[in-house]
Symmetry: C2
Subunit: 186 residues, 2 copies
Amino acid sequence: MSTPAIPRRQRRHDPGRRDRLIDAALTVIAERGVAGTTHREIARAADVPLGSMTYHFASLEEVLAEAFTRHADAVARVFDERLSAARDRDEAVEAVITLVADDLLGSRHDLVLTAELYVAAARNPALLAVTQAWMARSRQALERHFDATTARELDALIEGLTLHSALSTDPMTPEQIRHAIHRYLR
Amino acid sequence: MSTPAIPRRQRRHDPGRRDRLIDAALTVIAERGVAGTTHREIARAADVPLGSMTYHFASLEEVLAEAFTRHADAVARVFDERLSAARDRDEAVEAVITLVADDLLGSRHDLVLTAELYVAAARNPALLAVTQAWMARSRQALERHFDATTARELDALIEGLTLHSALSTDPMTPEQIRHAIHRYLR
DNA sequence: GGCCGATACGTACAAGCGTACGCAATATAT
DNA sequence: ATATATTGCGTACGCTTGTACGTATCGGCC
């Protein structure tokens, strides 16, 4: 009776745990979906005790909101960067192609997160706002090189090409992506 | 002690209950999402006792699969009909515009169901098969009037325009939809 | 160097879940 | 008309969930 079966785990000094938890949440969402995302699952992914979740977040909703905000920001940042690096329209077109073929289609993780966000946004006003801010930012980035109407339509095309490829058995190749975008912008 | 508080509900003769349950499931999915879809919620929506769910379906997964299959079939049927009614390319273009502006964007219910299906398909092979069969059928319908490459790209554009409008604060007007499609097919 | 607020950790609890199952009633076959 | 299979109905059970909360421990300010 001297050694209790489960000794208390040693306390860790862990600043930035909140941040890690948000990242862990994104991992869990991508792997199990929003439906399978629970306090316990996130805590397990981040290797922290359950109680840590309720300490850092008021509710599971709050975790989701922070996680999706982070995801949207990250993707939007890449979008911004690629398009601001382009110095003329031709380069901008290439940037868009790279964006779709490499950045978006390259990461199943991000792809799934985006789809999950869209569905969650249908029922959660806070997440809808995140989505709309993201869309506005993308359009704005496109408007550096294209007129407003083209930017909007192009944004929709990007969305469609991405989603479509993500779900398909034979996703479009980079050349096919290039073809579609050139055809639209021809 | 002669009158039990809750008398047994009178038994109903209800052939086709299984069908009604599948429809109820679609209603619940659209309103609460796959995550919020439970045996009890579906039973409540269809006004049947909980036990009826386990009698008619082996599992909740089975309910979801049947429901999404029905949804995909219904949307694909409209797609087929509009495109087979078109007798030349111009009419086909008009059919596509109507499809997007009226049929797809007209029903928030169907819109949400489609998004839910996509997300669910990412983690459920049976639902992925449903999605892919649906996509193949859409493409085939488009190929009545357009070459294979155009059909595929157009299908993606349709997807993007729909999803984009669904999420936007100011969805595209029918005229804007028309403009985008004409621009691509010009 | 000692306090104390911030953080870490474990656990308890009520609610809701999927599913199983027993019994009742009726449609249908004989 | 009787028997039988099908369908309807209620409820119980074990499990997971979100959340609350008591206690332990430490970093950083005086």
